[in-house]
Symmetry: C2
Subunit: 198 residues, 2 copies
């Protein structure tokens, strides 16, 4: 039996958990999580599958780590002072701004987070975290409506879904280096959502 602790000299470079997660996220995005295999992750990383097992328990662990990066960043936003204090509409605008920034800066991880379907326990855990995030944002929307700071003629849950649907779409069309900054997208999304196109 091969030692799993010592990658062979044939391997292209030393790997740590973070680097393996980087590669796994890319492979999961390209093949779909269900369609991707640990063999493909190993091949893309240029290491043996045994080396991956030395760092992670398997495919689900790599998904949890990859999507977890996006979840950690998004939940941290809700703890920021500007998301906690002040007028409700300003708290909401802050969450919108920071969500766009995180999406642009952690594009692969957020894309992976949003493409999770729920066929495994880890995927279902990720979906539950997403629902928890949505509920916390919907609460801010509801408070902003109660104070008359935003329109109250649309259900708060529906506002949240449509607003974050707009932001989440960034993972589908944003290309880094394409001349569009996070700030450009924040400005555009905030104008459309809060002031409207008309």
């Amino acid at each position: 039996m091969k030692s799993v602790g010592r990658p062979s000299a044939k391997e292209r470079k030393p790997y740590n958990m973070d680097a393996i997660v980087d590669v796994a996220v890319q492979v999961f995005l390209q093949r779909g999580y269900d369609g991707a295999s640990l063999d493909q992750v190993a091949e893309a990383a240029g290491i043996t599958k045994a080396s991956i097992y030395y760092h992670a328990d398997g495919k689900e662990a790599l998904l949890a780590r990859g999507a977890g990066r996006a979840l950690d960043a998004l939940f941290a936003v809700l703890e920021e002072p500007a998301a906690q204090d002040g007028r409700e509409i300003d708290r909401l605008k802050h969450v919108v701004k920071r969500t766009v920034e995180i999406t642009v800066n952690r594009l692969p991880e957020v894309a992976l987070l949003l493409r999770v379907r729920g066929n495994t326990e880890t995927e279902r855990w990720i979906l539950e975290q997403r629902r928890r995030f949505d509920r916390l944002v919907a609460n801010i929307v509801k408070e902003a409506q109660l104070k008359g700071e935003i329109r109250g003629d649309i259900d708060a849950g529906l506002v949240t879904r449509l607003l974050f649907g707009m932001l989440n779409s960034i993972t589908e069309w944003y290309r880094p280096g394409g001349g569009l900054s996070a700030g450009d997208i924040v400005a555009a999304a905030t104008r459309i959502a809060f002031d409207g196109l008309e």
Copy 2:
């Protein structure tokens, strides 16, 4: 060799191409297109793989048919009189309204269309059709901006991506029979996008 033209008596019900595409779309959505196999489609349909091959050339053909239903419906919208004539902003609002209606009424097919990644020739053809649709909508946005009917301080392409990102998100959270009609979503999306939340 088994005859592919005559499904055996063991099969649960007679199948035609449309029914097989219905099942294939569901399996592709559940497993991801890359992760799904023709065996899984056959199992879900309760027929043999040979019966599928009698109707369709294989997995890519089923994807083309499934996503094609959504593409056909969406491109047909652009040919409707209300999308062709009148003020540009009203043309745009009509396209928004009909896109929501088609998304709600053809939920699985539109979801499949939006999850295509581009690993096969058929997927790349679908992505090219999506880009063509986006360009046609962006042209309406641009004309509406030139006539001063909608705000001109955001690039037309970016407006289109964010606006349709909001609409496309319907496939991620809409549950038929949940008490929300297509009309409710049209009203909410139109208010947010054109009038704004504030």
